[in-house]
Symmetry: C2
C-alpha cells in the first residue's frame, strides 16, 4: 500500500523532531501502522532552513495554504502555534477534507468547539495528543483507557518551565526572579515566559483535559488562572517544614454544583508521588471512581517527546481515516450530541484547603484573635506553625493550614484577620490539595 | 441503537466488579461509546451466588459453553483464569465469531500466539488491557500511545502482592515469612501465593509487554523467573544504606543480540520515582527512543480497578467490532505478518549491574583477593561497603556494587570468590538497574 501523505505546517523544534523520528523509525512505524507514513510537503516561512532540515527529500513551500489545499495530502500536521493563522489553516484543512494533527493547546482550548464541530461535519479527525503533556499519552488514557470511570478529578504538573523553576527554588532556596533568569539561560524558559509563568499554558492544557474527562465543551474563558510569579521562597520553605511541596497544578474536579477548573501554585503532601516530580518533567494524576488514582509521568516538552505524541496520532489517523466516524473515538471522548452543559464554577465557589501565612506582633492574645475569626467563619484548623521571633524582633510569622472550606469563606476570614491591629502584613494565601 | 450484548464467564471478584461498574456508570459509558453495553448472560458454577450478585436481571447459566455459542452474544468476557478450560472457551468463542475480552495473563502468555492467530483468521478482537497492571492503561500506552518509538526497555512493578511484601519488609525490618503471613491475613496474598511470590505472575505480564513492545510472539517459556522467597531482610537494609530499594521487577530490554526477558528482585536507586511505589501499587516504566522515559502508575489488582480495564476494552470493541480489521490495532501492536523473530536471550547473556554480599574473615588481604578476582574477570566496582565487625567477632560483611557486566562473567567471578578460604559463606548476588 502507498504511504499515507502528510503535510507539515511549521518545521521548528517539534516539526523537525517529527520529521527526524518518522524517518529514523519508519520501518518500526510501518510495521505497526500497516502502512508507511510520509511527509510529502513542509510549509515554513524560512524555506531555506526547511530545505536544510529535510535534506531536499520533500517539497518545501512558504505558503501554508498550498499545503492545506493540496489534493494528495491526507493529513495536515499543524505546528505553527497561536490562535490566529493556525485557526484559519486548521479550518481550511478541515474544509478541504484533511485530517488534522496538532500540538496547539492554545488554539484548541480557545477555539476547540468551533474546530471539532467543523471536523464532525466534514467527517475528519482532529487529533491532539501532543497538546497536553508532550509525549505522555494522557489524552489517550483519558479518552480511551479510563472510559469505564466516572472521573472525579485531575491534577497535573503540565508545564515543565514552572516545575523546573519551583524545583530550583526549593533545592537552592533561591527566589523566583533569580531562578527564572537561570531557566532562561538553560533554555527551560523562553525569552518571553509569560504564558508559562503566569499559568496560561497550563490552563490551556487543563481546559482540554477537563472537557474530555467530564464530557463538556472546552471553556478556557471560565478557567481560574494564577501563575508562580508572586510565590515567595519563604512559603516554599515553610511548606517543606509542614511536610508539603509547592507545585503549579492544573486542577479540574467534578462537584455536584459544577466543575472546578483552575491553575495555581498548590501545596501537596511531600509523600505523594506527584510531589516528587522534579525539574522539567510532567505528571498527571487522575482519580476515577472505578480505577482509583492513576498517574502518568514523562517529558512534557521537547522536540522528540512531543514528536512521539504527534506520530502516535498520525498512526491512529492512518488506521482510522477510511473508517466510519462511528468507529472513531469522539474528539472530546463523549459523543458530540452527548456533551453536558455542566457549568464551570467561579473561583469563589471552589472548595480547597488553605495555607495562610501572616506576620504578627509577638504579643499575648494574637493567636486567640486569629483562631476566633476562623472559628466564627466555620473554618477548622488542620495544623499550625508559629516561628520563634528573632532575638529583639517584636514580630513573628504564623502559618495556619485549614481543613476544606469554600474560597469565599476563607476570603472573608482573611479580610477580618488583616483588619486586626496585631496582624502586620497582608495574609499570604495558598491553596492546598491532599490528592487522595 | 440496541446495546451490544456481553456474556460474562465467571463472576468472582473481577466479574462482579465489572457487572457493578457497568451498571453504576452505564449512562456515562453509553455517552462515550455511542451505544449501551449490556451483560446479557453470566456463566458461573455457583449459579445461586451469580443470581444474587446480578439481582435477577440477567440470565445465569452454569455451563460456559452455553455463553460462547449463544447467537445474540457479541462479546465474551473471560474471567475464569488459568490455562485449561479458559483456553478451550476462548477458542470456542472465537470459533463462534465472538470478540473476546480477557484479564487472563497466564492464558495469553502461554497460549497467546495460538489465540491471536485464531482471532485473526475469524476477524475478531481479543482485548486484554486487564491482563497487565489492572486498571493502568499500559497495554494501550504501549500499543498505541508510543507507536512512534523504538522501545528500548520496560521495567515494571507488576505484582502487587510482592510489592506489598517488600514494602513491609523494608518499613518494619521483618523477614519474608513473617510478612507473607501478614499479607495473607490482610488479603494481599492468596492462601497459595506461589504464582505471586515466585514471580510467575509478573513473568506472564512482562512476557505480554515484551511481545507488544518489540513486535515478537509471546515467549513465556523463555522468560527467566526469580521470586522474592529467598530475599533476606539484611540485603534490603544494606541496599538502603547504599541508596537503593529492592523491588521485584519485570524487565524486558532490546539488545543487539536479542531481547532480555526476566523477573527478579532488583536494586533500584531510591531517588527514582519507581523506587517509591509502595504497598500493593503497580507502576511500569517504559523507555522509548523518542519520548524518553514515561511511567504509568496505579492499582494493579482488585475488583473495580481491573473492571476499569475490562470495560475500557468493551468500549473499544463496541466502537470497532463492525470495522474492517485494518482499522483495528493489531493484537501484538505490530501487524501479524510483521512480527520479528528476534531471540530471547538466555539469562547468562543478560547484562546487568550486581550487588554482591559475602561474609569474610576479618583479616588483612581479604578485600585485595576479592577485588583481584573481579578485576581479572573484567568486572569494575562501582561502590563498596565493609561493615565493621562486631566486637569479638572475627567475621564481617562486605558488599560490592559492580558496573555493568555480563551475567556469565559475574558467575565465574563468584565461583572464584567462594573458593577463597577467607570467604565464609556463599555470595549473595542480586541484580541492579539504574533505569536511566
Amino acid at each position: 500500500m502507498n504511504p499515507i501523505k502528510v503535510g507539515l505546517l511549521g518545521i521548528g523544534t517539534v516539526g523537525s523532531g517529527t520529521f527526524n523520528v518518522l524517518k529514523r523509525n519508519q520501518e518500526e512505524i510501518r510495521r505497526r501502522a500497516g502502512r508507511g507514513i510520509e511527509i510529502a510537503v513542509v510549509a515554513d516561512l524560512n524555506t531555506e532552513r526547511a530545505r536544510e532540515l529535510t535534506g531536499g527529500t520533500v517539497d518545501v513551500v512558504s505558503d501554508a495554504n498550498d499545503v492545506v489545499t493540496r489534493p494528495d495530502i491526507d493529513i495536515v500536521v499543524e505546528l505553527i502555534g497561536g490562535y490566529g493563522i493556525a485557526r484559519e489553516l486548521v479550518l481550511k484543512a478541515i474544509e478541504n477534507g484533511k485530517h488534522v494533527v496538532t500540538a496547539n493547546k492554545a488554539l484548541l482550548a480557545v477555539h476547540g468547539n468551533e474546530i471539532f464541530e467543523a471536523a464532525r461535519k466534514k467527517g475528519v479527525i482532529v487529533a491532539f495528543e501532543a497538546a497536553v503533556a508532550g509525549g505522555i499519552p494522557i489524552i489517550k488514557a483519558l479518552r480511551e483507557g479510563l472510559t469505564a470511570n466516572r472521573i472525579q478529578w485531575i491534577a497535573g504538573i503540565i508545564n515543565g518551565t514552572t516545575n523546573f523553576i519551583l524545583s530550583e527554588m526549593r533545592d537552592k532556596g533561591l527566589d523566583f526572579d533569580t531562578v527564572l533568569k537561570e531557566a532562561q539561560q538553560l533554555g527551560y524558559a523562553e525569552a518571553d515566559p509569560t504564558f508559562d509563568i503566569e499559568g496560561i499554558d497550563a490552563a490551556h492544557k487543563v481546559t482540554l483535559m477537563s472537557a474530555i474527562a467530564f464530557g463538556m465543551p472546552v471553556q478556557f474563558d471560565r478557567a481560574h488562572v494564577e501563575g508562580i510569579t508572586r510565590l515567595a521562597a519563604i512559603d516554599i520553605k515553610y511548606a517543606e517544614e509542614l511536610g508539603y511541596r509547592i507545585k503549579l497544578l492544573g486542577i479540574t474536579r467534578r462537584r455536584e454544583e459544577g466543575v472546578e477548573l483552575r491553575v495555581h501554585p498548590t501545596l501537596v503532601p511531600a509523600s505523594r508521588l506527584i510531589a516528587n516530580v522534579e525539574g522539567a518533567m510532567n505528571a498527571v494524576l487522575v482519580q476515577g471512581d472505578a480505577v482509583g488514582a492513576t498517574l502518568y509521568y514523562g517529558k512534557g516538552a521537547g522536540a522528540e517527546p512531543t514528536a512521539s505524541a504527534v506520530i502516535a496520532d498520525l498512526v491512529d489517523v492512518t488506521r482510522l481515516h477510511t473508517a466510519d466516524p462511528n468507529h472513531r473515538v469522539p474528539h472530546l471522548a463523549f459523543q458530540p450530541d452527548e456533551l453536558s452543559t455542566v457549568p464551570v464554577l467561579p473561583i469563589d465557589e471552589v472548595t480547597s484547603s488553605y495555607y495562610l501565612r501572616m506576620r504578627v506582633a509577638d504579643q499575648t492574645g494574637v493567636l486567640a484573635e486569629i483562631t476566633r475569626i476562623l472559628a466564627e467563619g466555620g473554618i477548622s484548623i488542620d495544623a499550625m506553625l508559629q516561628k520563634e521571633s528573632r532575638e529583639g524582633e517584636p514580630q513573628t510569622d504564623i502559618i495556619i493550614l485549614t481543613h476544606l472550606t469554600r474560597e469565599k469563606q476563607i476570603n472573608v476570614a482573611i479580610a477580618s484577620i488583616e483588619a486586626l491591629q496585631t496582624v502586620l502584613s497582608p495574609v499570604t494565601r495558598l491553596r492546598m490539595e491532599e490528592l487522595n
